[in-house]
Amino acid sequence: MTNAVSTAAAELDEPRRGTGTARFLLGKLGGAAGSLLLVVALGFLLFRMIPGDPVTTLTRDRPTSPDQLAQLRARLGVDKPLYQQFLDYLSGLLHGDLGTSYGYNRPVSALIGERLGPTLLLVGTATVLAVALGLWLGVRAAWRRGSPFDRTQTGIALTLWSMPQFWLGLLLLIATQGAFPSGGMRSPATPPEFLPQLLDVAHHLVLPCVTLLAVIYAQYMLVMRSSLLGEMNADYLTTARAKGLREDLVRRRHAVPNALLPTVTLVFLQFGLVVSGTVTVETVFSWPGLGLLTYEALRVPDLPLLQGVFVVMAGSVIVMNLIAEVLYRVLDPRVRAQ
């Protein structure tokens, strides 16, 4: 695929823009692949620096004989030399095999797949809402900078931004007095039909989502606000007003699109982090997601699971970063010209 693009680009001498795009894309793809390789190696070494013996943790408080322990060590492969373990891990990865979890004795990819859905639902919903809310408030605040609205909104956002998620979550849980479920994603008693299930999940989603939203929307708001402030005195806005456009249209059609660029980068970077979930919120609300899986794996330490999660999380950040860079080029002609 990439090969075809590059040969096609090489054959065409004339349209220089095409060549530039291909070279740009190839460079970015190469960079992303390199980062991914580094992540794989780093993930392997990093988690082996955690002190602790998985076999001891796994067998604590349950009858096991020395023979059994040795057998378990052999089955998990932790008795092999480090380089051999690394080679096994690499060859597995090349075959799309993330390994088998020590603790759950199941393929890592199945475990991650199981948890990915709930995490995407929670963090995805919260991120989309946070982007919408943050951008909307940021635009309003910048447009009327220094006004009471600007000052109170910025104050509220910064206060929430600096709150520990864990604490805010527990606070909400206690303050809502049981109006929302204390944890989980579904109630056991809900009928299996689609609509009740949907309502039930939405009901369970409210508190974790609000907690996450409250803490993360501030960054979008502040970036949007400062970015728009930079455009406020630009000449083209005067021109737009001189044309007789309503203030609302001036803002929406002229100022905001120009101020959107730094925000796009931030939004995509954050989308990359959606996959990694959020350990604290998932823990407070017992949300069956990926963040929690990581936390539990760290305690063992469940090395294949940690490596797998690390690769998936880092991989999604790399991919989103790549998309942001490409999109940036589409959005901003100035980047393309360089």
Binding site: I50, P51, G52, D53, V55, T56, T59, R60, D61, R62, P63, T64, S65, P66, D67, Q68, L69, Q71, G103, N105, R106, A110, E114, R115, L170, I174, T176, Q177, G178, A179, F180, P181, S182, G183, G184, M185, R186, S187, P188, A189, T190, P191, P196, L199, D200, A202, H203, V206, E247, D248, E282, T283, V284, F285, S286, P288, L292, E296, R299, P301
Partner: protein
């Protein structure tokens, strides 16, 4: 125009969202009303790894298994002594190597097939012959020579050496006609309801949502009689504060593993009853008296002064476990003696007054003076090498007990001239360093079972590691006298004689002080007393309800007199919460709409 359309769009989303939030609570509430006190909802704060009983090793997984498959014999609810399960009775041959169990007649699997001795023989044989089936219960069959079923009601087990713990085989017996079709234990299908749903215990697994819920229905044909409740649900909570909140809000009926603070607040909560039970774990201060390998090669960097038993005894005399229980554990513990907790009275050993290391700094000082460790100029005692005695105290930074108790230990040992420095590190590092013998003193603790064999076996020379870091010994204890008592205990079939030997072994351990047993932590549980009147405790009256050795606790759950589950879920507080939510949503929607109208007016 575009502007107007967008406003309407925003408005309709807001209204739909508000409707969702308001409607959501009614669904479970309506359901709760139908349950009518016959559903027991238990908060589970630990993960489930597998339902497959051959692989299930986490405590919560084995607990679910206990509800589902009957055992040959199991510890009784009254006093933990072996009680009949599938086996009505049992006998041993004169050479003590052959055990014959008479299997109960008329017990059925939930799919209608009869439960026979062949199922039991299959279960044990599978564990013995299939390496992948040994994960959970491999230890129990290690000493087995053969397991056969001469007829449907007779099970014969031949052991390689006499084994006293043959009436404490904590192995769930599974149906052969289901499991013989499962070639690979690692197949995910072995965790699914069609496989694990066929059982003969008081409850049957009917739904499993990983990380969320295990649902069990009462077994209508259970041989002891149907449970008084219809359904048992284990609901995952990853955070104990959230579980406590769920109990207060009547979303669950039962919570365990409470902290002393949580327990104290729940004590006075309306509609909630608490249960403070004697625990099955002992908490200890390990003393590195010379960590070594099975080959007797020393490992680790423990202070050699601790090899002197007089120093270890003096340390035991300088500590005050009662203060730790009162000040650190909030009173929810019992000062320790032998390594078998007081919850197992048949085997528990309590030192007599003459042998007890009572808290007595003067006596500890005198013993150290006598042993030849004089105090230096700075008040710190000096070892034979001329260096001051300085010890490191290892503890888990994540653990409240270690954080607070370490300060006491530092000051207590300081008073007898031993300088102690605290080293609070991650759980994994504590495990690693204690396994490799790189510590002087360390906080630790172990769970025990009704049969004392296993916890004693971990103190024998045979449990020492073959390579550094692979220890299955709890404290590197290796003592000829102890080993002799252990060997005698594990082959003694007379209960009275055996208990006597178990107690002597504990006395020897206590005398040699490889660790100081500080206390047995209480088990703290709470339940909705407005939904449930009582549960069966193990042992009777003083014991715990959840995580028993057996199924008695939840099998004996008795709904409160005809009352529905919390009259259907929502407390007045919940209604206030919903109302507040609606007001907030409407206010936001209204303000936004109003402001838009205003700005539109201004500009047109």
């Amino acid at each position: 125009m575009r502007f107007r359309r967008r406003t309407r769009w925003v408005k309709s989303i807001t209204v739909a969202g508000a409707a969702l939030l308001v409607a959501g609570p009614f669904v479970p509430a309506a359901q709760a009303q139908q349950q009518g006190g016959k559903v027991l909802r238990v908060a589970l704060v630990q993960e489930i790894d597998h339902l497959n009983p051959f692989l299930a090793s986490f405590a919560s997984s084995t607990m679910v298994g206990r509800m589902t498959w009957e055992f040959l014999t199991l510890p009784s609810a009254e006093d933990n002594t072996p009680a009949p399960g599938l086996a009505e009775s049992w006998s041993t041959s004169p050479d003590k190597l052959t055990w014959t169990y008479k299997i109960r007649d008329g017990v059925k699997w939930s799919d209608g097939q009869p439960v026979t001795a062949k199922d039991a023989a299959y279960t044990f044989t599978r564990i013995m012959t299939d390496e992948n089936a040994q994960e959970a219960n491999g230890t129990y069959v290690e000493n087995f020579d053969s397991v056969t079923a001469p007829d449907d009601h007779t099970l014969v087990i031949r052991t390689k050496a006499p084994q006293a713990s043959m009436t404490a085989l904590d192995v769930p017996i599974v149906p052969e006609h289901i499991w013989s079709h499962q070639a690979a234990m690692s197949d995910p299908v072995t965790d699914s309801v069609p496989v694990v749903g066929v059982g003969d215990g008081p409850f049957l697994i009917s739904e499993y949502r990983p990380n969320e819920l295990v649902r069990l229905k009462a077994n209508p044909d259970y041989w002891r009689g149907r449970a008084k409740i219809d359904e048992l649900q284990f609901i995952s909570y990853k955070n104990s504060e959230a579980a406590v909140n769920a109990l207060k809000n009547n979303e669950v009926d039962f919570v365990n593993r409470l902290t002393s603070t949580q327990f104290d607040t729940l004590k006075n909560a309306p509609g909630i009853a608490t249960n403070q039970a004697g625990g099955r774990r002992y908490r200890e201060l390990m003393i590195n008296h010379g960590a070594q390998l099975l080959s007797r090669q020393p490992i680790g960097d423990g202070n050699p002064v601790l090899k002197d038993v007089r120093v270890r005894q003096a340390i035991a005399r300088a500590l005050d476990p009662q203060t730790l229980v009162d000040k650190v554990l909030g009173g929810y513990g019992q000062p320790g003696g032998g390594i078998v907790p007081a919850s197992f009275p048949a085997y528990h050993w309590d030192p007599p007054a003459s042998a007890r290391y009572a808290f007595d700094p003067a006596a500890a000082n005198a013993q150290l003076d006598q042993a030849g460790y004089p105090r230096g100029n700075d008040g710190i005692r000096v070892g034979p090498d001329g260096k001051p005695i300085e010890l490191r105290l290892l503890g888990r930074a994540s653990e409240d007990f270690a954080q607070r108790a370490s300060d006491y230990v530092v000051s207590w040992l300081g008073a007898v001239g031993i300088r102690v420095t605290k080293q609070l590190v991650s759980d994994n590092e504590v495990d690693q360093r204690t396994n490799e013998g790189n510590y002087d003193l360390a906080f630790s603790g172990w769970g025990t079972s009704p049969d004392p064999d296993y916890i004693l076996s971990k103190q024998t020379c045979a449990a020492l590691p073959t390579v550094p870091g692979s220890s299955s010994s709890t404290a590197f204890f290796c003592d000829a006298d102890f080993d002799r008592l252990y060997a005698a205990e594990s082959t003694e079939f007379d209960p009275g004689q055996r208990a006597n030997l178990v107690k002597q072994a504990q006395a020897r351990y206590y005398d040699q002080v490889p660790s100081v047993v500080l206390d047995y932590d209480n088990v703290l549980e709470a339940y909705r007393s407005d939904n449930f009147a009582s549960f069966t405790k193990q042992p009777a009256n003083t014991g715990q309800i959840m995580e028993q050795s057996g199924y008695w606790g939840f099998y004996g759950a008795t709904p409160a007199g005809g009352g529905a589950n919390g009259s259907g879920g929502l407390s007045p507080g919940a209604w206030i919460g919903i109302a507040a939510g609606v007001v907030v949503v409407l206010a936001i929607g209204g303000t936004a709409a109003g402001r838009r109208r205003k700005s539109a007016d201004d500009q047109e």
